[in-house]
């Protein structure tokens, strides 16, 4: 298995970081322990006073008594011993000299307490307790200082008042070593414990350093990636803005074009109406020869066809330019159906087809809506049905789909038995300028705008339009429109 090695510069950097964390934590331990000792030493001073007052409150001479010198020693000497360590702990916490002063003070307080209790063996445990407490610093040097004070105290007493230390007046000069040994004995175990604690602190610092460095690396990566994403988002926004402005420009250009086409169609339709009218008049003139009349009729028919194309173009352009307006007026469905019948009947008769028109009697008698556009849509799909049906018949129906007492929705449908629509072009049937195929254009004519205009008109009026068809069997085109039952502004 391949083991990935951390590069040396990064290793050194982590090591430096770990060292910094370790020293910072060590400093915190020193400061915290200094403060602990400030409190402890103050309490010990208080304890010394209480001890003196309890054990030896007064010194006696017969029936005469006075405050015992131990009480004064506890108050004054105890206060002096406690003062400097507390001062150092509060004013210079964390400094090396502070914890050594505290170590000295702590052992001197032990000496005082031993004095005050008459050298009780139990009070000597205060020295061992103090050493254990000093181990809180996790600094073995502090224990050495404290132990030196113990050794010095025993050494000096051994010289000047041997009975105060050893209970006998004549002792061997090395006896103080025996007493100090027990202190050193505890020191050894405490120093081992301190070293283990320091090792653990170092390990924790190393782990923390690795973790913090990893976090920094991740943060840097996140920042870098965030910048990249921000740049990408900016680019995307810019591209979208450009696309939007291009689309707006295209829509605007399309509207301009539609407007232009509408204007032109309108301008062409006026003279075209004159041409149609004049062609009809010429065709009706009695003195014309048969050939001339034929030409006049041909001119009339062609002009009508051209006008129809122009009308489609005009409607489509209006829809494209959003200039198609909806008019509302009172009308009835049977009237519209009758109008359509009149207009398609000549072609029906010409092709010898059967025309069936039905109207749902549930449809309210009068409705309010755009009857002109409704008629135009129905006529358009009825004309298509006539155009593409060679035999059989056409059925035009109007059925009530729903009635809410305010709005009535009517389903119009035109069913034929014509050529039907091939499946592959059904999806594009409502798109403008689309016809089933080129043969249809050739055989049936038309602009390919009729269905597209019808669908858009239905949507403009708030309805839906669709169809179903089977090739060579026929088609059904339908649309729904909603009409008000009452006149509304």
């Amino acid at each position: 298995m391949l083991k990935l090695e951390t590069p040396l510069p990064i290793k050194n950097k982590i090591k430096d970081h770990a060292n910094n964390i370790f020293y910072r934590q060590q400093k915190m331990v020193y400061k915290r322990t200094d403060k602990l000792f400030a409190g402890l030493i103050a309490l010990e001073w208080l304890g010394a006073i209480i001890t003196a007052l309890w054990i030896s409150p007064r010194a006696w001479s017969g029936t005469f008594s006075e405050v015992h010198i131990h009480v004064w020693a506890a108050i004054i000497l105890g206060g002096i011993i406690a003062s400097f360590p507390i001062y150092m702990a509060l004013l210079h916490p964390g400094r090396t000299i502070t914890r050594h002063v505290i170590a000295v003070g702590q052992i001197l307080l032990s000496a005082l307490l031993i004095h005050l209790t008459g050298g009780r063996i139990e009070t000597h445990f205060h020295v061992f307790g103090s050493l254990a407490f000093l181990a809180f610093y996790r600094d073995w040097r502090v224990l050495i200082t404290a132990s030196l004070v113990v050794a010095l105290d025993h050494g000096l007493r051994g010289v000047f008042w041997p009975q105060s230390v050893y209970g006998v007046l004549t002792v061997e000069p090395w006896r103080w070593v025996e007493h100090t040994w027990w202190v050193i004995f505890e020191d050894i175990f405490l120093i081992i414990s301190i070293n283990q604690s320091l090792k653990e602190m170092k390990k924790i610092a190393e782990r923390q350093a690795e973790l913090e460095d990893t976090n920094l690396l991740i943060e840097a990566k996140v920042i870098e990636r965030t910048h990249q994403l921000q740049a990408e988002i900016k680019q995307r926004i810019k591209a979208e803005e450009e696309a939007e402005s291009a689309r707006d420009a295209a829509i605007h250009a399309n509207q301009l074009k539609s407007q232009f086409v509408a204007n032109i169609s309108h301008e062409i339709r006026t003279p075209m109406s004159a041409v149609i009218g004049l062609a009809e008049l010429v065709a009706q003139a009695p003195e014309l020869s048969d050939d001339t009349r034929k030409m006049a009729n041909s001119t009339f028919t062609s002009s009508n066809h051209l006008l129809s194309i122009l009308n489609d173009l005009l409607d489509f352009s209006k829809l494209e330019a959003n200039r198609m307006h909806v008019d509302k007026s009172k009308f009835s469905i049977p009237t519209i159906l009758d109008d359509v019948r009149i207009l398609v009947e000549p072609l029906i008769n010409e092709k010898k087809l059967e025309l069936t028109i039905t109207s749902d009697p549930n449809i309210p008698k009068f409705l309010f809506g755009d009857d002109g556009k409704t008629r135009q849509i129905l006529l358009n799909i009825a004309n298509n049905a006539c155009k593409f049906t060679q035999a059989g018949g056409i059925k035009i129906a109007a059925d009530l789909e729903s009635n809410t007492n305010k709005i009535a929705t009517v389903l119009f449908s035109v069913t034929d038995t014509g050529i039907g629509i091939a499946e592959h072009i059904q999806s594009t049937l409502f798109q403008p300028f689309v016809q089933a195929d080129t043969t249809i254009k050739r055989n049936f004519g038309g602009t390919g705008l009729g269905l597209s205009i019808s669908k858009r008109l239905v949507e403009l009026l708030g309805g839906k339009m669709g169809f179903s068809s089977k090739q060579n069997e026929g088609s059904t085109f339908w649309f729904t429109l909603s009409f008000d039952l009452e006149s509304r502004p």
Partner: protein
Amino acid sequence: MRLFPLITMVFGFAWILAIGFGLYSITKYEYTPGLSANPLPSWPDNTKLERSFDKATLVMIAHPHCPCTRASINELAKLITRKHDYLKTYILFLSPNHMAKGWEKTDLWQSACLIPHVKVVADRDGKEAENFHAHTSGETLLYDTDGKLLFTGGITDGRGHIGDNSGIEKIVALLSQKKNLKQKTNLVFGCSLTNPERRVINAEAGNTTTH
């Protein structure tokens, strides 16, 4: 390296000096002996205590309120535990006539009463202390079966200092010997049995001074 403010250095120096002086003073006080007894070489005739004729008689004279004497009582208890077969023991507690009744019945008295084979006696107005020429609480005297004084002095090596001491060592050695016993003495540490004005008279008589 940042130097300490001058005030801190002065404080530290003064601290060392003050502690040195304080510890020296208190230690000196603790190991300065009281006024030693100057008893007759034999059992006093005018004492009301009964001497033993078949074993040694030990008399300790104590001040009932002296805190230092607690150590003496403790050391005596240890001695009795080891050598009670060889001893008839009295502890005399000072009981001045002009003080309130029960003045001498302190916790020290109670402690002394708990030691087996020891007779605790109230020394009315310090008469017995005078008979034995004792001036300092904790003064201990040992007499042989013939009433000869064998030991006089304290049985602690410091004021209220508990632990092995030369006084006990000497008494134990005397009790272990059968013949050729020589009188031994020891320093005594404790409160004065007499009021200050009487102590001055005693001092003028040639003895050392107590507190």
